[in-house]
Amino acid sequence: MSLTATETQPVDLAILAVYDDAQIEGEPDFVVELIDLYLNEVPRLFDTIRKSVANKDRSTARRAAHSLRGSSANLGVLQMATIAGELEHLENDYSNVALELLSSLENEFERVKEILNAERQRRSA
């Protein structure tokens, strides 16, 4: 398990840029829309994971981690996708490790937010 791995770039902007080919002329920037959805959704998923772990509801926590893994990977948020995958597939010593992983995700999300907000601003300029 790699709770603090930092070698991977927080966001691979080249993956995000692939979605420029889904842009429709005259419509709002599609990538900015995806960034906004992601920035709104992640805190909601963190909240769901925290509450589910506290309630020992592993199924809901797993589903939220699964969702976080999928959307992170699709947007090139690779390190968060990796950690969310670890959380999704946890089996033993559940609560403590799950909360450690959630804390890693929250720290990583601070770095990710900076990059995505900068990309958002660059595109909106």
Binding site: N40, E41, R63, N74
Partner: protein, 134 residues
């Protein structure tokens, strides 16, 4: 008659609880010239399919709250008016056994996450070609 109507419709049912993936898939379906009909989870897809069979294809996330994609698809395969609608299942589980079981249950094609616009486009066209052949 029903089959003919279904061949002509351009409606595609999309069910995914993840707003980001849902937004992507909706856009990609529009870019292919089809009309997305979007619901937020498997339960909503099930309720809609009970009264509406007019879809050219369906795209479900494998893991959804209330009713998972595979369960909605099993319902479709048990109903005469829905059984010929091809189903694409989006999954982030690279589990061959799960995929084999899903094919056996009637999934037409899988799209693994993460996916690009091009990967979606190729998979979507295969889904609809399958529909035309059947």
């Amino acid at each position: 008659m029903l089959t003919e109507a279904r061949t002509q419709t351009r409606r595609i049912l999309i069910a995914d609880d993840d707003p980001i993936i849902r937004h992507m898939v909706t856009r990609f379906v529009q870019l292919e010239g089809y009309q997305p009909v979007v619901v937020n989870d498997g339960g909503a897809a099930y309720r809609l399919l009970k009264t509406d069979a007019n879809f050219r294809g369906a795209i479900f996330d494998m893991m959804m709250p209330h009713l998972e994609g595979i369960e909605v698809m099993r319902f479709m395969r048990s109903e005469k008016r829905l059984m010929r609608i091809p189903v694409m299942m989006i999954t982030s589980e690279p589990d061959l056994k799960l995929m084999a079981n899903s094919f056996a249950a009637g999934v037409t094609i899988f799209l693994p996450k993460p996916f690009t616009t091009d990967q979606f486009q190729s998979t979507f066209r295969l889904l609809l070609n399958h529909h035309q052949e059947n």
